[in-house]
Symmetry: C2
Subunit: 297 residues, 2 copies
């Protein structure tokens, strides 16, 4: 509210929590805040489909559907947010599995990592589709020219990796990429932090999620993140028809603020619409990956 | 050679490389070095089974079999080293899948992470077996009392994770653990670096490998590892009948030295024999996990 005078907030949650926040704002800022009282939240231990009923995340998504809000920011259960967004806003054509996309600072500019928890068990076709999403996102959201796209594995030599990686490597090599992007093959864990070989790192949501948190832990161990920013505390959800940002479950005030700033940045660039349009030009395999998990539990 | 006067080295590799190393030593140290000239090395891009023929790694393993050496240290292809060690030294009874074990410095003492690349696609039974191995290793190699063992996932609430984690969680909860260890349930990426919730983190070899390299990259980004040491550059291979240490493929002189020091430490404690004996007391499911990958490619 302080750094972005054009921002208006719709708070969805228990009244007393909203009141605490409103009390910390001056009258001018308060005029830019609306409250929609909802008591039921989907807990971290609940099944994601609990978000189908009346809940904070479902109500927030509904507000976007109804045109009362332009974007959703949630620091709640990732699975519940992905489920509510996919059901409420709908998926893009040709994207069965949404991806959570995080941007990490690296030596040679930002590195886009996906998926960090949207789809825990993708098949090769979904990884190839996510490569397209990631390339478009790097170009649209971060103005990366001709993004280099890599597939995360245990070595950079062809053939390294488990069955999923060995099947996905040729799938990524074959898929046409937007924005002048090119596939550089297999990359390794340190390429995410260094960014010298790659701008977009594709992996399954399980690996991406634990990786992101491990990097966060390493920065904490090293006495704090590097000067240009540490592990991101917010990720964009790509593949649903709207702007949705998921914050870390343990997010503090600064993290939620950076999540809101990311949502505003993406909405102002029409990142979702532009990425969706770029995606529509890329042919894809209409057969879904059968072993995909519907959403993150 | 300088820090450990009791150490004797058997160098296995091309003569000219050995000569370069010998030239850097003084005559007393040189007397502690033997050279076994072997030209053929298994390349990083070769299939691991290339290690079956005459090669540096196979020759080094043979030297242990023949009693000429007590331990093998390799900075070559992980898959080739695991294959050569499993074939040459044999696997422990009840361990179909060896595990590479890395020790990370954490806020509250060392954290043992396994597997970091020995078995890329374990099933739940293998993960449960690796939990036993990790607990015994933490106690034997690092004197951790009553180790807390966790399963890496995307959240700590029960039910979080992909199908492998959801199947492995009850398997780990059911397995008896040695050395007073107890299973604490699901842990997350940052628990590896912080170590406040867990001493032993169990995961598949794919995730562990990319995770370890991501942590290494994060430390490089943060301007260097923390004072008490960064990401380990050497890992112990558990499950084969002998002391085997695998160094990072991009290991420098200090990294190889720390790998040799780790091998000497483990051999002097008879870590392999002690862990094996502890393992023998734990009942296990004789049915192998069918989807295990034989060795890391």
């Amino acid at each position: 509210m302080r750094t972005d005078p054009d921002l208006r907030l719709l708070l969805v949650g228990p009244t007393e929590v909203a009141d605490g926040l409103l009390g910390a704002l001056d009258p001018t800022q308060r005029a830019r805040v609306t409250v929609r009282p909802v008591r039921a939240a989907v807990g971290m231990a609940d099944h994601p489909t609990a978000a189908r009923g009346e809940s904070t995340v479902r109500t927030a998504v509904q507000a976007v559907q109804d045109g009362f809000a332009d974007a959703v920011v949630s620091a709640g259960s990732t699975g519940a947010t992905v489920t509510a967004a996919a059901l409420g806003l709908g998926r893009w054509p040709g994207v069965r599995r949404p991806a959570l996309v995080a941007t990490l600072p690296a030596v040679d500019g930002p590195v886009v990592l996906l998926d960090v928890g949207g789809t825990l068990e993708p098949g090769p076709a979904t990884l190839a589709r996510h490569a397209v999403l990631g390339a478009a996102y790097a170009a649209v959201a971060h103005a990366v020219a001709a993004p280099r796209v890599g597939l995360l594995s245990v070595g950079h030599e062809a053939g390294k990796g488990d069955r999923l990686r060995r099947a996905a490597d040729p799938a990524l090599a074959a898929v046409p990429l937007p924005c002048g992007a090119r596939y550089v093959g297999l990359v390794e864990g340190y390429d995410i932090s260094l960014g010298t070989r790659v701008d977009v790192v594709v992996t399954d949501g399980f690996t991406g999620n634990v990786l992101l948190k491990a990097i966060e832990g390493a920065y904490a161990m090293a006495g704090g993140p590097p000067a240009n920013g540490g592990a991101p505390r917010a990720a964009a959800l790509l593949g649903v028809a709207g702007t949705v940002v998921v914050c870390h479950g343990a997010a503090g005030p600064d993290d939620v603020a950076s999540g809101i700033a990311l949502a505003a940045h993406l909405w102002r660039r029409d990142a979702a619409g532009t990425v969706r349009a770029l995606l529509a030009e890329i042919p894809h395999d209409p057969a879904p990956d059968r072993n995909d998990t519907e959403v993150a539990p």
